[in-house]
């Protein structure tokens, strides 16, 4: 808006600040909790300023895990989550960009049908097909493995659809020029389409990495071996300490660690993202 009304500016800023506060406060409290000794959180008065046990708490969860809940070291869980999220993000992008390429650039029988079948699977999220999927994964002997964690989540109608929409905006003459320049289908894909999709890939990677990182139900089902626990499901397990108070200081430290990688991905990829947008290639 180009209007110049001081009060409107003040009001909109106030609303904005309030929004930030509402979003940030729980995270702040989690951070504060992760820096206090175990009894501060249980005393009934939630502290609002950081305590002095930060290093100790983080060292404990990273090194040995939350003892009371019999949990494995958080470092292992972070690693598992990272592997799973990366496999899902990379796998999804790879599969869907190839599928979209086929659907947009090749004329084959049942092309439209293929597209609609892919599109319809949008209506079937993981939770709906979780039992049959579990059956398949179990019979393929992929329980308690990275493959079992990631492969069933790789197929993606959303990403396929996004790439399809992007490919449709690439001028047809580009493909024709490449044909005249002697580039076959694979060469065109590698030399022209892939570089042009760079910013789209970066954007999708951010979204899909976070999607993979935040998976909860699926890892809970397919892993029984502690060595494959992911951090998001791990946090929940820490709460189920029997005959003991939850170790809030350690749980919150774990939560902070669980939040870190997605934040880093967003911060880091956003630079690439904006750079791509400024270059205006297309």
């Amino acid at each position: 808006m180009v209007e110049n009304r001081p009060w409107l500016t003040v009001l909109s800023h106030a609303v904005l600040c309030l929004g930030v506060l509402v979003t940030a406060l729980p995270i702040w409290i989690a951070f504060v909790a992760s820096t206090h000794p175990s009894d501060s959180m249980l005393s009934g008065r939630t502290p609002l300023l950081p305590g002095g046990n930060m290093l100790e708490n983080y060292a404990t969860v990273l090194g040995t895990g939350v003892k009371a809940a019999g949990s494995i070291p958080v470092g292992t869980m972070l690693w598992n989550s990272l592997v799973m999220a990366l496999m899902i993000a990379v796998g999804k992008i790879a599969i869907s960009i190839i599928a979209a390429y086929a659907i947009v650039y090749f004329r084959f029988p049942l092309r439209k049908t293929c597209f609609w079948v892919i599109f319809i699977t949008l209506m079937l999220p993981v939770e709906v097909r979780i039992l049959p999927t579990f059956g398949v994964v179990a019979s393929l002997d992929m329980l308690n493995s990275y493959w079992g964690l990631s492969v069933p989540l790789i197929a993606s109608a959303t990403a396929t659809f996004l790439f399809r929409q992007f490919f449709l905006t690439v001028p047809e003459e580009l493909a024709e020029a490449a044909r005249i320049d002697g580039a076959g289908p694979l060469k065109f894909f590698r030399d022209i389409l892939l570089p042009l999709s760079r910013t789209n890939i970066a954007a999708l990677f951010v979204i899909l990495f976070i999607y993979g990182w935040n998976q909860y139900l699926w890892p809970l089902l397919v892993t029984t071996d502690e060595g494959f626990y992911t951090i998001v499901m791990g946090i929940q397990r820490m709460l189920q300490a029997e005959d003991a108070e939850p170790a809030w200081h350690e749980i919150m430290a774990t939560s902070m660690l669980a939040m870190l990688p997605p934040v880093l991905v967003v911060v880091f990829m956003q630079r690439l993202f904006v750079k791509g947008l400024i270059e205006q290639e297309k």
Partner: protein
């Protein structure tokens, strides 16, 4: 270098639409042929068939001595310049030009030599590291030309390459294309809907309408003796005046509808005694004194272009719809409502059969 030949070329789309109704033509080696016509006449389709981007339904296209119907575009030894240039946006100017050569496994130093040469010809030397997005429209156009030149093809195909440029640049690039084609001596096919481009560039013109080549000939042949009403109306600006009439009793002239005067130009014998359409170009009507006049026009509107003026009016004693456009010297003052007395040289009067649209000769 090689010529190009169309033998009974037809194109029917899968949905049954027939885009090309049979073209037969031979393009000589080094000739610049322009295909011109209104949008949807099939001119681009024809060009794309030569490029291999559209299949040929029937007939044969030959480049040099080879039938190319079944060849991939890359194997036809042609280069194409697209309307929107179709430059690879993520590659530098150098890479854009070199891409086709790399795919053909041309040696590295050969690529560098050819690109440098083309860049020199097209004044792109300082721009080789830029991306297409950092270039102006005219520069992009040059890069697209450069990409075609470095291939050293048997034929250039141009698909309305100048229509995205502003008027001034278009005139300049038109000259450059002509000069370049002369210098390289490469057979060229050029598609456009702009008749000025067509007339100035072409060694020979193909005027197309609804999938049919209405006339093939040099620009002046087509201007002086248009084969059909369509060609007569399409080539020349402003368009030729068409006046319906009948052949006079004694065959010595033409009676224009609603006019008592007889146009004292004898129609060809093939016209018989029936109805005809008389065609006269605006630039061939000349204001004269009343005594010498063969036509009189009531002026409705004057468009002053500077060098000359376009006078739009109605035939003075004509019936409805006898609109006439006259090109007069710009220095001459003409006002609306005035009656212009006009004469025309007999060899500049064209006669057409109003039913078939064919020229009567």
């Amino acid at each position: 270098m090689a010529g190009l030949e169309f033998v009974g070329v037809r194109k029917t789309y899968p949905n049954g639409v027939q885009a090309i109704h049979g073209i037969d033509m031979a393009v000589a080696d080094g000739e610049f042929v322009v295909i011109v016509g209104p949008s949807g006449c099939g001119k681009s389709t024809l060009l794309r068939m030569v490029a291999g981007l559209e299949t040929v339904t029937e007939g044969e296209i030959r480049i040099g001595d080879n039938r190319v119907n079944e060849l991939e575009p890359a194997d036809r030894n042609i280069a194409m310049v697209f309307q929107n240039y179709a430059l690879y946006p993520h590659m530098s100017v150098f890479d854009n030009m070199a891409y086709g050569l790399r795919n053909r496994r041309t040696p590295r130093d050969e690529i560098a030599r050819r690109v440098a040469e083309a860049a020199g010809t097209l004044q792109l030397e300082g721009l080789l590291d830029r991306r297409p997005g950092q270039l102006s429209g005219g520069q992009r156009q040059r890069v697209a030309m450069g990409r075609a030149i470095v291939r050293e093809p048997e034929a250039f195909l141009f698909d309305e390459p100048l229509s995205n440029l502003d008027a001034k640049l278009r005139v300049q690039m038109r000259l450059e294309i002509k000069r370049l084609q002369r210098a390289l001596g490469t057979t060229s096919l050029y598609v456009t809907h702009d008749q000025v481009e067509a007339m100035t560039l072409a060694d020979r013109l193909i005027v197309m309408n609804a999938g049919v080549a209405e006339q093939i000939g040099t620009p002046l042949e087509i201007y002086d003796a248009p084969a059909t009403l369509f060609v007569a109306g399409f080539i020349g600006s402003p368009a030729m005046n068409f006046l319906p009439g009948t052949v006079a009793e004694d065959g010595s002239g033409a009676n224009l509808d609603g006019s008592e005067r007889t146009l004292p130009v004898a129609p060809p014998a093939s016209a018989g005694r029936g109805r005809i359409t008389v065609g006269i170009r605006p630039e061939h009507l000349e204001p004269v004194s009343r005594e010498e006049a063969v036509l009189e026009v009531v002026v409705e509107l004057v468009e002053a272009l500077g060098a000359d003026s376009l006078v739009h009016g109605q035939l003075a004693d004509g019936g409805e719809g006898m609109a006439v456009t006259v090109r007069v010297d710009g220095a001459r003052q003409v006002a609306a409502g005035e009656v212009l007395s006009l004469a025309v040289a007999p060899n500049h009067v064209h006669f057409f059969d109003p039913d078939s649209g064919n020229r009567l000769a």
